[in-house]
Every structure is written in C-alpha cells, then in structure tokens.
C-alpha cells in the first residue's frame, strides 16, 4: 500500500480550512471580533441556526469559528440508527460497536481470511456481540464491516487529533476499489438499504483512490437508483470534490449547491468547497443547474464570496421567497456597517453629531437603500422582519427618521420573540438619537426608556453572552449625547455621560460633580448616567487630596481623604466568567515602601522589599507629614522633621518609592512616563527642596550638613533630568549623548567642606557618579 501525503482535496477537510485561515494569523493583532462596530445582530434577525456559520465575520471564514466537522462525526448517530433499524436484531450500542469500535480492526483483520469468518469473529468477541451467521442482514453487516473499515483508514485522519503518525493519508489501492465495486454490483437491488450503503462505499473508495475522477462516472451511472438521503448528498460532495480535482469548477459548484440545498449538516462544507467564479463562468454554472432551488443556492454562494448585493437582487428576482436571502441580507448589512460605523477612540469625544449624520448619509448607497425599501414595503419575502429592520436601520443612516420609525413599528409587530423586539429597540434608540440635535426635556423623554434598557437590562449588562449587539451602541450613545451637551455648554452632563480625562483639574467642575453625585434631587435621566459613571465619590475625594498634597496643603488634603468611604464595585471575574460585586476601600490601601526613607541610592524595589515596622496608607502618611510639619512650625527637632517631610515629598514624586500615592482613577498616571498634564506636579521637586533647605539651615553637626548637601544634589539632578529629558520627550530612555550627572552644587559642597565626614565615605561607597566626579574609579 502506498502512502501519500495529505492532499487538500478532501471534502471539508481541516487542512483546507486552515490553509484559508492563514489570513487570520496576520490580523491577530489589533483586529476586533465580529461586529465590534455593529448594532445589527444576524443571529436575531436571520434567526435560523442553519445559517449561523455564514454570517459575516471579518476574521474567520465561518462566523462560529472553524466549524466544519468531519463527516464521520457528523453522521455517526444517523448511521448507527439506520443500521439498527435495518438489522432489527441489535440495539444501537451493539451496532455502534460493530461499526466504530477501533479494537475490532485487528479482530477483523485476523478473521477475514478464515473459512467461516463470522464464526471466527464470534469466538473473538464477547457473547453479547456474537453475530447470527444464518441471518442475511447480519451477513451483510459483516461484509460491510470488512469493506468499510478497510476504507476508513483512507478517508479519515482525525480520530485522535493528537496522534501525528496516524494523520497521513493513504490512497485506496485499485483492487480494493474494484472489490467494493464488485460487491456493490452483486448486491441485490431488493435490499435497497444495503445496496445504498455499498454504493456510498464505492464513491468513497473511488474518491480516495488515484483515479479521483472515476467518482463522477460511477455516480452518473448509478445515482438514479439511489434514495435521496443524506448518504446521497455525502456521495454528491465527493462528486463535487472530484470535479474540483479536475478543475471543472462550474460543475463542482453545481454539485456543492445541491448539497447545500438538500443536506443541512453539509451546508458549511458545501459553502466552503464552493469556488467563486467570474461572471461568464458563473453564468455557465447557472445553466448547468437543473432546478430553480439549485440556482438560488448558486446565487447565494456566489454572493457570499463576491458581490452580496447584486446576488441579493438576482436571487430576489428568481424567488423573493427564497430562504437563502436572509443570511445574504444580514451580510450586506454587517459589511456595510463595518464601513459606516467607525469605531472611535476611548477617552475622546470625537463624535460631532452634525458631521456623523453627514458621514452616514455619504457612506450609504442610496440606490441600494431605495431597493431595500421597495422590497421591505412589498413584504413578499420569506422573513419580512429582517427586511423591515434593515430598511429602518438604513433610513436612519440616510436621515429619514420618520420612515425608520414607521418601519420599526412594523418590525416590532412582526417580531417573534424577545430578542427580535430587543433588536428593534436597539435600532429605535439609534434612530431617535440621530433625530435629536439638542438635549432637553423632550429629547430626554424620547430617549430615556431605551437608554435605560440599553445600560441596565440584564441581557445588555452581560452583553458578552448576549446575541444582541449593544457594545458599540452603548459607546456611541454616550459619545453622541455627551457631544450634544458639550455643544450646549453643559460640561457637567457632558462629563457624566462620557467622562474625559482632565475634568477634575478644574476645582469648580470637581465640586459640581461632587454635588451632583451627592444630590437627592437628580432626575431619572441623570440617574441613568450616575449609575454607569466610572468614578465614585471616593475617586473624586482621593484625586482632590492628591492634588492638594502637591501644593503642600496637607490639612486640606487630609480633609478630602477623610471623606472617602468604602464603596461597591461591580467587576467581571474572568476565571469564573461572571460579574461580582466587591467592596473597595481606598483608605486601607498601603504604600509599598517606607515613604520617609531618604537613602544615598534610590532603589525603590529595595525599599519595597525591605521589612517595615510601620506601614502607611495614604491618609496615615498625610497625617504623619502633618504631625512633622507642626513640629517644624513649633521649632521642635526641626532638622529631623524637615528632612523627613522632604523625604516624604521626594518619595511621593515620580522619583520616589511611593508612586502609588498618586495612583488614582481620575488622575490616571500609572505609567513609566507622566502625561504633560501632570509632569510639573509629579516630576517637580519644589517642596522637596523647600524642606531639605529648612533641614540644611537647621543642621547642627557636620554629618547632618554633609547629608543635606548630598540630598540637595539629588534634587538638582532630578530637576535636570525632568527639564532636559523627561518633559521634552513623551517617552524617554537614556542612550546616546545622555548626560547622567553633572557637577552638582551639592557634590562640590560635599567635597569641599565635608570630606572628613563619615557620610562622605558612605557616599563614595554607594554612589558611582560621585566617585566619577571625584575621579575615583
């Protein structure tokens, strides 16, 4: 027997699918899943599971992934049931054993050459599986087992996916094919079932032989005697594959179209095997289809791969009531949406209502919408709901809101279930949004119910599991409304609806938002957005406290921090795949290192790892700073207290070990570089310098003075880095002509005045720059 490498012609084989899937590799980055900018759900509108794999997906060939099952798996149950019904004597478990049990392969190989193989077989298997050698049907089964198992080796390579060695494909030897064909020819016409089974075995053997095209002649000679069951269409798939093999794509497509039309389980593989043709060849294939249904499918399949709109029109002309229209229409909508609805960036109100409406209108082909409207009006279609919904959607896009509204009412009446009603709601909200140019009580009234539903209905909150496409609509709704508020000069509502970085830097705005969040007199409309506003009062107080600290207003900062209360946060638990509510208390969060450290070498990781007897939360930290400031004011141990307060400001800066002090949802500075908005505040050394200078003035011993000279050198260095490198560059890394240190004033002082101190020696030991400055290697 000759081994051949896996060829790509097997019907619906995995290799072909993944060959196609190459396309997905390159796009793995940055591409979103299907429908990221969609508000039109094909699941809901087409509402037919059979067509689900064919919905539009910009990522994989099939909407639900690589979903072509091996035909053996696909038809296993049916095959067992058919045989059990035919044999009558054995239950399905037993039949499954005969047909699919792998261990029987060796048994059958062993007994196949004995004089009375059935009896030999019975000695090998347990009693319950003994076959009746007198029964004609049992004899047929046994013969079939021998034949079909011989072939199983060729046509299936996916029994155990993780077995590399058993995946190479074997071609059937010619004499094996002949043997099966002879058995088929000999079998009695009267035993329709058995003859039919053998017929399929012949096709299969021929398909996996070296002479693939012999499938076609055999099929043409024998098909008229076969019942039109699933086996027939599985056989026809081989015929399509054989035509493909000889590059007769027109005939191949006709065969696949018939399979698609008549055999539901094989629809995905038929669509996958279909090969798009140019206009002339496509016309030829239509002429070769012998009935209208096949023609309809040809249009649908060609439309799937090429121009879905013209295919839609052709198909409608042929038969308005064709069941294949719906999925093509949903593809037309989803493909258009991808182009029309542009996914926009977070944290930016980049929606300008006027411009959006104009863009929508410009991007839609009005002639196409006209035709869609005509069909939706006539309603002589298989699924009037999807036409009404589509027409409504596109009328919204071209700006005919009233017409859309009427169509949506009709769609609502036609809706068969809650999901279809939900889809209408989606589109209604979209339509109403676009119809509004100004936010006022009237606009609120028009939007409130659907907006509330959009953000709070259980099915929309858990939209990961919902088929209704609300993700994009939620974002768009917020941006659109926020943009209107912004235009009307209502920054508070604009922020509440769609928060944008920077709002809280304005103290007045911060207070206005606080009052709104605390208010008991909010309107129901406002409540919708308060509920989904990402910042809590705790975030606001914390942000204020942080801003105040960096102005050295520690008292006021403490007051803000004291207002913080624990709150509930709803979040998605990915490991358990559900939402959960947790309690969050900012006041309890501890700083990772001792924020009063002031060492020669800045090593934040070391500070974080070091054992600490006292841990500080932000508030405890502030209180300690205040305590020390009070002592400075009272003239109590000024040197030490000023040094420690200086260290505190140092550590709470970008350079220090307590960056977490400024981590806050609103301020949003978590990264390795600071945004322009906060760079002065977080790179700034003004208050560090202020307190170090106080300490310096109050230093009594030479050791203390030496230390302050060095600490001020650190401040000088940070200022230099910030001004020369960090602030002018968005991202900075020291390379090239980067200057790592200069003759800091503090270095000079240390060298000139304090070279006899112990601290001086410590600096030499620990600080490479200082050694370099001194010229020591």
């Amino acid at each position: 027997m000759k081994k051949k490498l896996l060829k790509l012609l097997a019907v619906g084989s995995f290799a072909t699918i993944f060959g196609y899937g190459i396309y997905a590799y390159g796009c793995a980055d940055g591409w979103w899943g299907a429908g990221y900018s969609s508000i039109f759900s094909p699941e809901i509108t087409v509402s037919n599971k059979d067509y689900e794999p064919f919905f539009y997906d910009d990522y994989t060939i099939f909407y639900n992934g690589y979903n072509v099952q091996s035909t053996t798996d696909l038809f296993k149950e049916e095959t067992i049931a058919d045989w059990a019904a035919y044999l009558e004597k054995y239950d399905t478990k037993t039949v499954e054993y005969y047909l699919y049990d792998n261990e029987l392969n060796t048994v059958l190989a062993e007994v196949s050459s004995s004089k009375n193989p059935i009896e030999a077989f019975n000695t090998h298997v347990s009693k319950q599986y003994a076959l009746n050698s007198k029964d004609a049907k049992s004899k047929n089964l046994f013969e079939f087992m021998l034949l079909s198992r011989g072939i199983e080796t060729y046509s299936n390579q996916t029994y155990n996916y993780w077995d590399y060695n058993n995946r190479t494909q074997l071609n059937a030897e010619q004499n094996v094919v002949q043997k099966i064909e002879q058995t088929f020819n000999k079998a009695s016409k009267k035993d329709v079932f058995y003859k039919n089974r053998l017929w399929f075995q012949v096709l299969r053997a021929k398909f996996y032989s070296d002479d693939v095209s012999s499938v076609i002649t055999f099929f043409n000679h024998t098909e008229k005697d076969q019942p039109k069951n699933n086996l027939y269409y599985r056989g026809l798939s081989y015929v399509g594959g054989a035509y493909k093999n000889v590059k007769n794509y027109e005939k191949a497509n006709v065969a696949f179209a018939q399979v698609f039309c008549q055999c539901r389980p094989l629809m995905p593989s038929a669509l996958f095997d279909y090969r798009p043709l140019d206009a002339a060849s496509f016309k030829n294939s239509l002429n070769q289809a012998n009935n209208q249904q096949t023609k309809e499918v040809l249009y649908a399949l060609q439309g799937y791969y090429t121009n879905e709109f013209s295919a839609l029109q052709d198909l409608y002309r042929l038969n308005p009531n064709s069941p294949h229209i719906d999925f093509l229409l949903s593809r037309w909508v989803n493909i258009n949406e991808q182009n029309i609805n542009i996914y926009t960036a977070y944290e930016k109100i980049d929606v300008d209502p006027k411009k959006v409406k104009k863009d929508f209108k410009d991007k839609v082909d009005s002639a196409q919408v006209k035709w869609i409207n005509e069909v939706a009006n006539k309603g002589n279609v298989h699924n009037p709901y999807i036409w009404k919904a589509t027409a409504a959607y596109f009328n919204s896009l071209i700006g005919d809101y009233q017409k859309s509204d009427e169509l949506l009412k009709q769609a609502h009446t036609l809706a068969k279930n809650a999901e279809q009603k939900g889809q209408v709601r989606n589109l209604r909200l979209f339509n109403n949004l676009l119809s509004i140019d100004k936010m006022d009580i009237k606009a609120e009234g028009k939007l409130i119910e659907d907006t509330n539903w959009l953000f709070y209905d259980e099915s929309n909150v858990n939209y990961y599991t919902s088929t209704n496409r609300v993700g994009y609509l939620q974002e768009f709704t917020k941006k659109y409304i926020s943009a209107l508020y912004k235009k009307q000069n209502d920054p508070l509502m604009a922020e509440l609806v769609y928060p944008v970085n920077g709002f809280f830097k304005d103290q007045k705005q911060s207070i206005a938002m606080e009052q709104l969040l605390l208010s008991h007199k909010r309107s129901a409309w406002q409540d919708i957005f308060v509920g989904i506003y990402p910042y809590k009062l705790a975030d606001i107080y914390e942000s204020r406290g942080i801003y105040l600290f960096y102005q050295d207003k520690v008292d006021e900062a403490i007051a803000e921090f004291e207002k913080i209360e624990p709150f509930e946060r709803r979040q998605h638990n990915w490991s358990e795949n559900r939402y959960e509510t947790i309690m969050v208390d900012y006041k309890a969060t501890e700083l990772p290192g001792n924020p009063f450290n002031g060492k020669i070498k800045d090593c934040n990781d070391c500070d974080h790892a070091a054992k600490q007897s006292v841990k500080y939360s932000q508030l405890q930290f502030l209180k300690k700073v205040k305590e020390m400031q009070n002592k400075i004011a009272a003239g109590e141990d000024v040197y030490n207290n000023a040094l420690l307060v200086g260290n505190a400001f140092y550590n709470a800066s970008y350079f220090g070990n307590a960056r977490t002090f400024y981590y806050n949802n609103i301020i949003s500075e978590y990264g390795n570089s600071i945004s322009n908005e906060h760079e002065k505040m977080l790179y700034g050394m003004d208050y560090v310098r202020k307190y170090y200078t106080i300490a310096q003035k109050n230093a009594e011993t030479k050791e203390q003075k030496a230390k302050m000279a060095y600490m001020l050198a650190k401040v000088e260095r940070n200022d230099f880095y910030a001004v020369s490198y960090f602030m002018p560059n968005d991202y900075f890394y020291p390379y090239g002509d980067f200057v790592s240190f200069k003759k800091w004033k503090g270095f000079e002082e240390l060298k000139n005045n304090y070279s006899d101190t112990k601290y001086y020696q410590e600096v030499i030991n620990e600080c490479g720059y200082f050694r370099k400055y001194l010229g020591i290697n």
Binding site: C27, D29, Q69, G736, Y769
Partner: protein, 322 residues
C-alpha cells in the same frame, strides 16, 4: 533606580550576530536556492513551525502539522508551536494540554529524525488568557525546561500588566505592527508605530532575540475596505494583466477574474506590503538604540525562496550585526 544603570555602553565596532530563519510552511523541504542562502548566510538554526493549536468544539487540537519531505539535517531545529489565544480563554487543564503538545512534538521529532534542545511557543496572549498561558508554560517546563516565547510589540509596553512569560528567552516580533488597512499605512512595519513601543524595551525583563520580517503580502481592497489578504504576494507578481499599477505598491484590477482561487472584482485594488532592505536596516538601527542587551540571534520571518531572493545576501549580513 535611575542612578544605577547608565554606565558602560561604549563598544564602537559592530559584531556579527547569529542568523536564523523561521520556517512556516506546512511541508518541510528546502529548495536549492534556499539551501544556498542558508549556507552563504551561515545559518545553523531553523525555527520550524510544527503545528498550530486551535479550538474545535471547545477542544484544543493540533492543526496543520508539518510534514517532513526532507530531513532538516545539519540544522539545529527549534520547534515552534503557534497556540491561538482562544485556547487559553477557556478553562481547561493546562497540564494535560502540555503533555499532549509535548508528545505531539516528540512524534514529529521522531518522524523528522531530529532531537531538539529548545522549544518555542507563539501565542498572542491577552489579559484574559494570560493566566492560563503562563500556567501552560509552567507545566510544560516540567516536561522540557528550555523554552522560548514570541513577544509582540504591544506586550512590552506595560509588562506589569501584560506579564512576561517565564521562559529563557523571548523573541521580539518586529512586525505586524498595524491593522491591515486600505490606506497608506503599512501593517507589517511602520517606524512610527514601532517608536511608540520601543522606548519601553529597557524595562523589559527578559533577554530578547529579534525577529525581522522578510515576508510580503497583498492587501485586497474593495471600495476602500480590506476584503482579504493574499499571502506571499509581492510587487513582482503584479506586473502583468489584469493588474494596472496606480501608485507605488498599489495595483488596480482591470477586469473580474480569479486569482489563486480568489475572486478579484474589477476596480478592486491590491496593495503590496513588503519591507525594503533599507527598512530592515532602519529597524536594527532603532533597536540598537533601545535594547538593553545585544540579542544573540536575528531570526528572519520567513524562509521561503520568494522571500529571501528579494534581498541581496549582503542585506541579511548587514542586518545581522550589532
């Protein structure tokens, strides 16, 4: 932290770095030209894609495993397994997957008569799959400790969030930088995009080798929308009917026709994305400025006669220096 690290980058001469290639086809055999290139470029190591792992009916299965028509004799082979992110989005036991993948690699090794030292995983993991992927790596290390992993640019920017796989080395994929688009932006390589990321390289705590793109593809565009990607297509392929050059790297289809089984409609546009030799040099220059340490290897993606012959051998040599 800043204080400690700045000293000591002063070597002036460049030195050669090992050159390697990714082999990404499903059947392993090398053409004469490919062999000649490998010889001339002194390539000792091939990273061979063994198979993908994807989900089918929620079960992780190997996909399109490689078939060795020729044994990769004389090369140090590193099997690469591409695992789709979806595999780690579901909760399955990492240890059993590790065993399956390991055994499958062994089977392939045996069929090709190779023994391997290093194994590489390629997975564009996300925050949601991180935990499962990293656990898979931990489990795999119990079976085979010497692992490397591909690192995508977007994963170096916030390593504290994205995580760093605990492997011996990473390979920074210096390509697939942008979204495949119909405009002028290049999705394979864009210096501008790269600059948004490479500044973060110094923070990345994993020794990195560099993978550079020598592949090309055609972006198939209809009505300014991307409809498909045609792998392997280069400018050279489109110099004839029914393509009409409309601008640098752009070709219009002048009549409906089928190209390699794909339907190209009249007025469709094919945009070729193909990194130039100059760009390869530019990539290395930028990387030199930002990488903490010299990489041990430059790996070109991917080995293919069509890809390699687009460049002078000198280009590969120049680029493989530090």
């Amino acid at each position: 932290m800043l204080l400690v690290t700045f000293l000591g980058a002063c070597s002036a001469k460049t030195e050669k770095i090992s050159t390697a290639f990714y082999f990404w086809r499903t059947t392993f055999s090398l053409t004469e030209t490919e062999q000649q290139y490998l010889k001339d470029l002194d390539v000792k190591k091939l990273y061979i894609r063994y198979f993908d792992v994807a989900l089918q009916n929620n079960e992780a299965i190997p996909v399109a495993p490689i078939v060795f028509n020729q044994k990769p004799e004389g090369y140090n082979v590193v099997p690469v397994v591409y695992i789709k992110n979806e595999v780690f989005l579901q909760n399955s036991s990492a240890d059993s997957l590790a065993v399956k993948v390991y055994n499958y690699i062994q089977q392939i090794n045996k069929s090709a008569n190779v023994s391997v030292n290093e194994i590489q995983f390629d997975c564009d993991w996300s925050l949601k799959s991180k935990q499962n992927y990293f656990q898979f790596i931990e489990e795999f290390k119990k079976l085979h400790p010497n692992l490397s992993a591909t690192i995508r640019l977007h994963q170096i920017k916030y390593p504290e969030k994205t995580g760093i796989p605990s492997v011996k080395t990473g390979v920074l994929m210096y390509y697939n930088m942008g979204v495949i688009n119909s405009g002028d932006d290049n999705s394979i390589y864009s210096q501008k995009t790269a600059k948004n990321y490479i500044n973060s390289l110094h923070n990345y705590n994993l020794p990195l080798n560099i993978a550079l793109p020598v592949f090309s593809w055609g972006v198939h565009i209809r009505d300014n929308k991307v409809v498909n990607l045609i792998g392997g297509l280069s400018n050279n392929d489109l110099q004839k009917h029914p393509f009409e050059k409309v601008s640098e790297n752009r070709y219009r289809v002048i009549e409906d026709f089928i190209y390699q089984g794909r339907y190209l409609a009249k007025n469709d546009v094919v945009k070729i994305e193909e990194p130039s030799a100059e760009q390869l040099k530019e990539m290395m220059k930028d990387l030199k400025n930002h990488l903490k340490k010299k990489p041990n290897e430059i790996i070109f993606y991917d080995l293919n006669e069509k890809n390699v012959t687009k460049y002078e051998k000198e280009t590969f040599k120049t680029v493989s220096r530090w």
